[in-house]
């Protein structure tokens, strides 16, 4: 029985943890840590060719530069790293695979010295033919990005295809798709493309590594979402014992998946473990241009979707081919492909599903985790296709979605039954909020106005054994310390954990402190990804706090000689109303209680808790079927009211309505923050973002002047954010994740609104001004659909497309 009282438990609007330090500027991020004059600095020499054999790296002149101690090249640190597939080396070895790939590392006394010396390193290449187009790379295999793919170690739930560019092939084979298409009254086929996009967190990457020369122990301070996964990937990469690697993750300035796994830690470690440098800390700070040039991106995406619909407007079958452009590494990027596959029916009840999802290597920066993990791309395509179908069948887009909705008990494409949710109610609320079916005149002269809706669905695509654990410590004054190795990167998880502890212990929120991750002090957590933390780590924190409560109450029970059930903790004070007792928590929780028999009992009170998803089963590799492939889905809907200026192609968002079924909002301030933030990030991706390359694979958008992201002027006039609470069965308080989901549907909803406004379908994201303008010009010539393939320069593309 829970016997607590608190005003600061779950569901309350509380000020967020660490906001005070953030507001006064004192919170120290990795770049703010100080190591004194011992600190060395590394700077990176990067490849200037997209695909080439390295003939020579001449760094004689660099070594003569002031302050330079050493130049390290790929062969000096020849380890392969990777979370799911070990296809990555920190520096190119023998062969460079994209423009910007590290080929050497200069280590010097100051950052300026290192940067100056980088300019003196001369690398000569024999250029090889590159491949940039994922469809061409996957279908022709004329250029192999990783000829050694068959040699790389990988986890058993991904399936690389040796001697091709396919790093992972995930399949869904549910029902009889062939028959469904043969018997369908209507069959539709559409293609949609999304470019690679950049996370654009404001904090770039920064790592500091140090190895103790005697013990060999390694310490890594790094801007990482997942301290333990960094430790795991490093340990497996260099074949080193876990207890000799300590990863300290200071607060990070935004992650969005871009700091989910290992980023630049191994590159920095190549210097810190060098025989000549060992013992001195080495710092590797990656400036903005190099972040855009050389780090994780959201994968490019090409989707072909075929939909079979019967006479009643019910979806009977879907056939999907998804090409994810994963660049030169799929070490993390192999998994968003699986994630999209798991949900390739969207939010709809489709009995027959055939999906082929490919992660395809190309000579571009590597794709990986990005908020939404495959689903923003998938739904940017699928929700537009559904809208096209509704329009062609002359059914209104709200009704068409609602009549095909995947309801409780119906099976997803992996054969798993859907749980209860309130999506139908959410759709109604969204439709009403923006009056989606009502045509209204534009508020700006000469502009056109449109409204659109799109659905969001996503499950955490975590491995079946992704676990969390937490420790809660009670101090001798009643305050509490929580060790939970989730990274609070702005989403506000530490506020959630403090509210959970307050809920379980009856101790005020302000008395609870949650610490940033350090693998030395914290118990294990897999990763801060997948919108899993309030759920998975939330479960561990709840269990730890309730264990602590039980220990504390048991001691008071003996001390007061009264049954446990009669004791409560109210606002931090332990009470027994029956006996009229009321005592503050004091040193006795550290040193023990002197019991009535005169014996001291107790001692420091610690609660611990852990959680592993109890019932996940990996899908069958041939069919993708599993009784429970994912832990749960969060569903939602977004409505957009927008206007477009036909004279310039500019889109302005008047209003957004976004609602999700979060199960239970632990920290409402953060749920609202995640919905607003994800909505604008989704709109930014929709309207302006694309990693753009020239025909040699050189990035044309290496800074925030050319790579545009939403500013305050691009934010919509209004966001009507709301949520429903249909409880989740296996969950601390019924809660489900919402952090990523808010990014999924704004783009397709905007695209659908653009169609209502103009009668034009744009099949390639982003809906940039230039593209919208061109599309509207094409409309004047009678076109109804507009494509701009990202590789228009590649003439082979059109042929490959037809061969699908």
């Amino acid at each position: 029985m829970k016997t607590i009282k608190t005003k600061t438990g779950i569901g309350k609007w509380m000020p967020r943890k660490y906001d005070l330090e953030k507001a006064e500027g004192t919170l120290q991020f990795a770049d703010d840590l100080r190591f004194g004059p011992e600190l060395l600095h590394a700077a990176v020499v990067r490849s200037s060719v997209a695909h080439g054999e390295i003939l020579k790296i001449d760094y004689c002149e660099a070594l003569k530069m002031p302050g330079v101690l050493k130049v390290i090249v790929g062969e000096d640190f020849p380890h392969h790293f990777g979370l799911y597939l070990k296809d990555r080396t920190p520096m190119a070895i023998g062969r460079t695979r994209y423009v910007g790939e590290p080929v050497a590392l200069v280590v010097a006394e100051t950052e300026e010295d290192a940067k100056e010396a980088v300019k003196k390193v001369k690398v000569t290449y024999k250029e090889l033919e590159p491949v940039f187009d994922p469809v061409k790379a996957a279908t022709t295999n004329s250029v192999l990005v990783h000829p050694d793919l068959h040699k790389y170690e990988h986890v058993d739930f991904i399936t690389p295809q040796p001697n091709t560019n396919i790093a992972n092939w995930f399949r869904i084979r549910k029902g009889d798709t062939e028959a469904a298409f043969k018997n369908a009254a209507h069959v539709f086929e559409e293609t949609i493309t999304c470019p690679q996009i950049a996370h654009s967190f404001i904090e770039t990457f920064c790592s500091i590594c140090k190895q103790d020369p005697g013990s060999g122990e390694i310490t890594i301070w790094t801007s990482a979402q997942s301290a333990f996964t960094v430790r795991d990937i490093i340990a497996k990469g260099i074949n080193y014992p876990l207890h000799k690697i300590r990863v300290i993750a200071p607060p990070i300035g935004g992650g969005f998946g871009g700091k989910a796994g290992m980023t630049v830690e191994a590159l920095c470690l190549a210097a810190a473990m060098d025989e000549d440098l060992k013992g001195r800390p080495v710092k590797l700070f990656i400036p903005r241009e190099e972040v855009l040039l050389s780090s994780w991106v959201r994968q490019g995406f090409v989707a072909r979707i075929e939909l079979a619909v019967d006479e009643d407007g019910l979806m009977q079958g879907i056939r999907n081919t998804f090409w994810f452009d994963t660049g030169i590494s799929a070490e993390y990027g192999a998994n968003p492909v699986r994630s999209a596959g798991y949900t390739s029916m969207g939010a709809y009840n489709i009995p027959n599903v055939w999906s082929d999802c490919y992660a395809v290597y190309t000579n571009k920066p590597f794709g990986g985790a990005y908020r939404g993990f495959g689903l923003p791309e998938l739904m940017s395509a699928l929700e537009v296709v559904v809208d096209i179908v509704a329009h062609k069948l002359k059914i209104d887009p709200v009704e068409f979605r609602k009549k095909n909705l995947l309801m409780k008990g119906q099976t997803t494409c992996t054969g798993m039954p859907m749980h209860d949710h309130a999506l139908d109610k959410i759709i109604d609320k969204v439709a009403k909020s923006i009056d989606v079916l009502k045509e209204e005149p534009a508020t700006r002269k000469g502009w056109k106005r449109g409204k659109g809706i799109a659905l969001a669905i996503k499950a955490p695509a975590i491995p079946a054994d992704a676990s969390s654990s937490a420790i809660v410590k009670l101090n001798g004054d009643g305050t509490v310390e929580v060790l939970a190795a989730t990274m609070d990167m702005g989403q506000g998880t530490y506020s959630a954990f403090a509210q959970i502890v307050s809920e379980e212990l009856g101790i005020p929120y302000d008395w609870i402190k949650v610490y940033y991750p350090d693998t030395q002090s914290h118990p294990y957590d897999w990763q801060t990804v997948a919108s899993r933390s309030c759920w998975s780590m939330g479960m561990a924190v709840k269990r730890a706090a309730s264990e602590l409560r039980e220990k504390l109450l048991a001691l008071f029970s003996e001390y007061w000689q009264t049954p446990v059930e009669t004791i409560s903790i109210e606002y931090g004070v332990v009470k027994c109303h029956k006996l009229g007792k009321s005592e503050r928590i004091d040193e006795r929780v550290q040193n023990g209680f002197k019991m009535p028999d005169g014996i001291l009992k107790g001692g420091p009170i610690i609660g611990s808790g852990s959680f592993t998803p109890p019932d996940l089963i990996y899908p069958d590799p041939d069919t993708g079927q599993s009784p429970k492939s994912v832990v749960h889905f969060t569903l939602g809907a977004v409505g957009i009211d927008m206007e477009v200026d036909p004279g310039t192609g500019r889109i302005v968002i008047n209003k957004v309505c976004a609602g999700y079924d979060v199960g239970k909002a632990i920290t409402p301030i953060n749920v609202k923050g995640q919905i607003e933030g994800g909505t604008v990030q989704g709109l930014s991706a929709c309207l302006m973002e694309a990693m753009t390359y020239d025909e040699y694979g050189r990035l044309l958008t290496p800074d925030f002047t050319d790579y545009k992201i939403a500013t305050i002027k691009d934010a919509p006039g209004e966001i009507d954010a709301f949520w429903e609470e249909t409880p989740e069965e296996i969950s601390p308080y019924g809660n489900r994740g919402v952090g990523e989901h808010s990014m999924i549907a704004p783009a397709p909803a905007t695209n659908n609104a653009l169609f209502r406004a103009t009668g034009m379908r744009i099949h390639s994201y982003p809906l940039s001004r230039e593209r919208v303008y061109k599309a509207l010009k094409a409309k004047e010539k009678g076109e109804t659909d507009f494509w701009e393939w990202p590789y228009a320069l590649d003439l082979a593309y059109e042929r490959a497309k037809k061969e699908w």
């Binding site: 005070l20 953030k22 919170l27 904090e203 990030q681 800074d703 919509p716």
Partner: protein, 167 residues
Amino acid sequence: MKDKYVTLTINGRKTTRVVEDRTTLLTALREYGVTSLKRGCEEGECGACTVIMNGLPQKSCLILAREAEGAEILTVEGLVEKGRLHPIQQAFIDEGAIQCGYCTPGMVMTTYALLSKNPSPEEEEIREALSGNICRCTGYLSIIRAVKKSADILSGKAKGGEACEDY
């Protein structure tokens, strides 16, 4: 490169720093210990290094330290008086206008500059003033609410210090 000296007043404290010709004001201030200023882009695009220099908001990555000779610099650390947050800082907390916190010091300083000049700005004026500060987390609407609330607190129309519930 030859070292030179620059004397400036940082949050009320006068100090002389050793700098090179190429040292930016951002680097000089961070080396002094003012690490609220962030290296977000180092080319004037993100606004995470915004300071008030002689009363005007400036991106410190675009100013050479030696150009700041004799200047009065105010950063977010300098807004805290005797342990009490400035109303702008408090409003940012109350309105959930902070997520990762990396852009926050720059946002707060730009807001400070705006409200010093225009104590009750219209929403369009807020958007114009903050358009050089990028935030990737919040979606900006909470920041707009925080600026409006800051103006209300400063003019005595509102009180700070409570997490805002308007759901």
